[in-house]
Amino acid sequence: MSYEIKLDIFEGPLDLLLYLIRKNEIDIYNIPIALITEQYLAYLDMMRSLNLDLAGEYLVLAATLIHIKSRLLLPPAEDEESGEEGQDPRAELVRQLLEYQTFKEAALSLEARPLLDRDVFSRGATAEDQAVAEEEDEGEIEIGVFELVQAFRRIIAGLDPSDDLVIDTDRMSLTERINEIMERLTESRQLTFTELLGARTDRKGIVYTFLAILELMKLRMIKAYQSGPFGPIRLFLAVEE
């Protein structure tokens, strides 16, 4: 059966739907929903019977198809209150299919380009090139933030899980504030809490600044003094340079 060959090469429910439309030589702007839904569900059954992993998205689209089918069975909506001229219930699905089809076309045109190391080749690296590369440390690589977070994950994978390793954007915002405070204290030796706040008078700015100061005190990196209740809080580097 040609079915089996096709099954594992669908890139998702939209792909399967496009395949059925093409197979039945259907006009994409006028999809016979009953027919397509029936064939679509038959494919899902077959995939299940073959124990193929069925991504949840396939079921979501099945539900959408059934919903559209039921809406088409109802008499044309007389939505005079909303002023809408009873839109074709298939419209959104058609739009989605057309968009996906365009990107499938884009993928094909990308694939058809002359690819480096498949269709075109650059000069082979010579022994000299390799010598130069080795001189500057073993196998250096160019990196972006993705490589950085991957490296971090690799390292901590081997650590004691009880380590406090929760890293989220809030924590990094706090770190950002800590660095700023240390930079400013290194420049001016002492600062008051108000001076540190500067223009940051929003709630988030105040909270982060306060938390950053607590963290720095805990780390014994700064010292804080207050001349009396409600007096200005003065901050100093714990260790003078």
Partner: protein
Amino acid sequence: MEEKMAIIEAIVFASESPLTAERIAEMIPDAQKRDISAILQRLVQEHDARGGGFRLAEVAGGFQFRTREDMAPWIRKLKATRPSMLSPAAIETLAVVAYRQPLVKSEIDRIRGVDASGALKGLLEKKLVRIVGRKDVPGKPIIYGTTRKFLEVFNLRDLSELPTLRELKDLQE
């Protein structure tokens, strides 16, 4: 050949990645970027006119010597190893990123109708896609875009060399 032209040719030839006129200008003290661009164009023409086994190609905003496309069957014989190919899911995902960048992952998922996590991770590891930043909306999702290596591998001068989505759509009618 004029000396300055030979120097530029040597530098481009020796480089492992495409070189821009700007970078070459940094290496040749008394040269203007404009002159270098003009010389590079003359070199492109000269090599095309020679009709040899390789040509000077304009890729990723720079210049690199590359074999002629029709020489591929012969080079493949030389290189015993098969190049690692991208899966259809990876190419689809790459196409969406290339045309819609900068974009967040949920947008890719929506267009393709499936979760793009695996494909996206593979493209990040292959350095064809990169993290560009975060979007300023609740949850601050990561924004993705294509890399310079994407242009190099797909033999593109820049992104504008890709056919437009409209052109691709017309192709289907």
